[in-house]
Amino acid sequence: MSTPPAGPRRSIDWRRYGVAAAPFLAAVLVAMVLLLLAGVSNPFDAFRRVWEGSLGSADKIPDTLITWAPLTLAAAGLIVTFAAGLWNIGIEGQIVVGAIAAAFVAREVPGPAVVLVPLTLIAGMIGGIVWGLFAGVLKVYGKVNEIFGGLGLDFVATGMATYLIIGPWKRPGQASTSGTALFRREAWMPTIADYSWLALLVAVAAVIGVYFLMRGTSFGMKLKAVGSNPRSAFLLGIPTGRYMLGAFAVCGALAGLAGTIQATGFHHKLVPSVSGGYGFLGILVVLLAAFRAAWIAPISLFFVALSVGAVQLSYPPLELDSAIGGVLQGILVLLVLLASGLQARRFHLRSKGVGTTLVDEGAGPVLVEE
């Protein structure tokens, strides 16, 4: 007895893969054109350098992974705020405040690594939660759009970090925006053979946690209800405001962990640009992942490989600006968005009256309006 064909899901739809691959190939093409315009005679050589500068050589892999951890944490947190329909632009500030809190513990608290490292992580989480809740309170009780409230809090967080670095926490002898003095060794993220295993563990745990939070818990389900239709969620008796605050708190906690890893695992000190822009980059990761938690880990890895690897292009003989990594990321996300819109439009034209969204399971902010 053979099993009957179970609808279109079982058979491999090659056209679907084609649609998925086209934006990627187009992004690579655009990058090649840009590289040619910038005077690179062989773009493939540039791609090889990016690969060897990130995942392609053994001594670069630890550097790439210590960057992967904060980006993945930020993206995991954003999955939760996006599910609630929130644009958490304040995530950059949440990372910075997490880093400040971790730096405070690393500087002020005595003790061995066994005590200090968990304490920095907890402090970072608290810092991120506080900053996330600020944006949440402004949104829920002040009716302040979270994009602008978050942006203002980003500026304030950066100002605080800069003030601490050149003021109270300045290096003995000289105040400089290059950062505080290095933390004591006991506060650094532990490593085995250059691999910051704890940072990786935290990031992996966050992804798994968010995956199950959104899939298997009543909090996650109700959050999605709040995100997809706040009014009907409210009428069904879900306290929407409290759920939004909850989303800000979860995202803030994960962003704070990202900040902790940036401070104690990467820089080993507090620097003004401690967020590394991973909050905003995380938004791109989540958009590319179409709000699905399972996809953020591999997409983050691809993104950091581009960012870390592109630094190689700034050295001789090429001496390009390493922003080409960001250009490629941006073009890729833009093209994937446009392709999904085109696909939805064709689908819509074929079966008139049925709207569709980029989002599986009807969760998250609707990217394609019905």
Binding site: G142, V144, Y163, I166, L320, V327, L334, L338, R345, V368
Partner: protein, 312 residues
Amino acid sequence: MEELATIVASASPLVYAVVGETIAEKAGVINLSLDGSIMLSAMTGFSVSYLTGSVWLGLAGAIAVSAAIAALIAFASIELRLNQIAVGFVLTLLAADLSSFMGDSFVGEQAAHIEPMSIPLLSDIPFVGPVLFDHNLSVYGSYLAVAAAWYFLFKTRRGLELQGVGERPEAAFARGVPVNALRYLYTIVGGAFVGMAGAAFSLDVQLGWRENLTLNYGWIALAIVIFGGWHPVRAAVGCYLFGGLQLAALKLQPVLPDLSQILPILPFALMIFVLLLVYLDWFRRLGDTHPRLRRLLASDPPSGIGVAFRRE
């Protein structure tokens, strides 16, 4: 008095950006890409001016870049029904990175810039003359942009039509107004103003190009549009207020040397919180108890903002 003249000049790029965004949002399309658009336009304006020796070609290039980005947002929203915030955010980051990458070889160079040109007679008026009429074409253009946008939006038929497209697209459509065509038009026109903002930075106010030359000005412009309640004149006032905050921060640097590094950041944070203040409910309620204040207070966004219009 000198300080006022400085504020008027240094706020001129923001004025362009805010007028452009107001027009687009009034028609119902949010162009969130401002921060990146301004940066890429600033880079384009400077590099074209550097390569051709012509400020005007530089300006044209700057306008073309931001208008193209705006057109893309309109296309994604109107044809593909994609979320305007998502597309705008991606374009913000993309345009900023593009400006860093493509502008790398122009850092530190010098190019033709907008020449000072005081207006005869008008610049001789005591007080007002030196403050308003002793600048250059870019600054005068910023006044014109505000006045023209105000007149167009509130005093012409086409302007009313534009507001209808943003407020009640269904009603406008029922009356035979081509809603989506006009949304394209006004988003692109708004983008052109954003491009002028970029050029005003690199060819006038900041002279030259370096990475992140205009960082965060686009975000401030977006905030000021809300602060201005989608009214070009009130938005312009917001720009001058921001210029004043910046100048104050600059003047305070020698007085408070400990804070000199963070003072330049403060106007950005302050401006956002001024916005939050006027957005709070109790502040809005002032308008009900004191009707004379209402014109100064924040107003609601166009009700059709951010949502694609569809016929059926």
